[in-house]
Symmetry: C2
Subunit: 251 residues, 2 copies
């Protein structure tokens, strides 16, 4: 899941209300290019971090972030990480002031979202750090949620279901169509409609389909059409889960 | 899946270009109410079908449709059924002229779609019937596809993946959030974005998340957080399927 604040996105808004002092990237040309855009210094070594900065934002992959947190210390600076599933105490050695900004969105450079609507989850280890990270977050989005690290982990997990798994179901649906020379376009209005409805309705209450109707005849037909064991298993398991959830709602 | 043409929807557009002669419903009051709206006759018995009609549209549940097809015969009339998974030859005894109109959309009375964009799948047992059903379909939508019954069955199956199963993933995602007192609203922009992207991109090629990255550490964390066997199984199976599909694309 590309649920991280891309440096591009961060800078897009950040530099309006905050002074960007330095950009560090392993790729010195990338750092140089961005630095010229935002009129700041650049470097490619973490040891070269500018001493005057108040805040350091680490927009890094999980393993790189953890490695840096165990090797460096910036006691007087506010350290902000942007990883969805790293807890603050996993990087507690890096500073006394740590916080996180996590953008609950799948950001692509070519398709930057309208900044005001992007949900941003913040967390911090002290009240002061929380106030500071909130100020920074507000310069990126007006849609800010404060969750603790445990909630954030569950939200990251829930996003895997709502985004990654959903996208995979689209791809399986497309595969079924393609194998029969059916233009996948025919399903696109339905996909949009299903996503649209969840904006206002509880998805459990608007569930439709053969599984929730216990229409075993249609389900048997479908299982016969499916051509791989994995697809049959997915059909079985998700249908079972729909029925199990219905029972739970009833009792 | 509520993938049927609701009589309300059909009539909404149908009556502009075609003359509705009679509405039949088991619920005589419902029939009467609709008939007054469309200035036609009404009845509550199939035996009372008006002799002057050229076309009879059966918007019925699968089992009721099959039962009627085996009990009645209307040899000179065009019979149109609206079921997603019934083949024409399953109702071949009812007439020499049979066709189907299937609306690939989840229609709710309160939220009727813009008629021009709704994909309609048509099929018929003869060229003449196909021409006739096409004329009728065009009075409902400009987005018409002609698929044979076998393709239609696969499309119905693909719709279960893209609509019913996807909606269920939303509901599981919401459940994970609710159990942690997380407002599900925080995921809604991501859900919209994921559905939006599939309009233009191949979902297999834009798959993100820990599974496709083979990020086993994050997947193990997620599996520990999941609190029921069914959720763990779904996480395992869909992650496996994402990885399996990636391998297939590579080879």
């Amino acid at each position: 899941m590309a649920l991280e604040i891309s440096p591009v996105f961060l800078q897009k808004k950040l530099h309006i209300k905050h002074k960007i002092i330095q950009i560090i990237s392993k790729d010195i040309n990338h750092a140089k290019q961005l630095a010229s855009q935002y009129h700041c210094q650049y470097a490619n070594q973490i040891e070269q971090i500018h001493q005057d900065t108040d805040v350091i934002i680490f927009a890094l992959k999980d393993d790189v972030l953890l490695q840096i947190a165990n090797s460096y210390s910036f006691q007087d600076k506010l350290i902000i990480h942007t990883a969805g599933s790293i807890h603050l105490d996993e990087i507690k050695n890096i500073s006394n002031h740590i916080a996180s900004i996590w953008c609950v969105y799948s950001i692509q450079k070519e398709m930057l979202p309208l900044s005001e609507s992007v949900p941003i989850v913040i967390n911090a280890n002290t009240e002061d750090s929380l106030l500071n990270v909130n100020v920074i977050a507000q310069s990126i989005s007006q849609n800010i949620f404060h969750f603790n690290d445990e909630q954030k982990s569950f939200l990251h997990l829930a996003a895997v279901f709502a985004n990654n798994f959903t996208n995979h179901l689209y791809s399986l649906s497309q595969q079924i169509c393609e194998e029969q020379n059916i233009n996948f376009d025919v399903l696109k209005p339905l996909i949009q409609n299903t996503a649209e409805k969840v904006k206002h309705a509880n998805p459990a209450l608007i569930q439709t389909g053969p599984a929730i109707r216990h229409d075993q005849q249609t389900m048997d037909k479908h299982l016969q059409l499916l051509q791989t064991e994995t697809l049959k298993k997915i059909y079985h398991l998700l249908s079972f889960s729909i029925q199990q959830k219905k029972e739970k709602y009833r009792t």
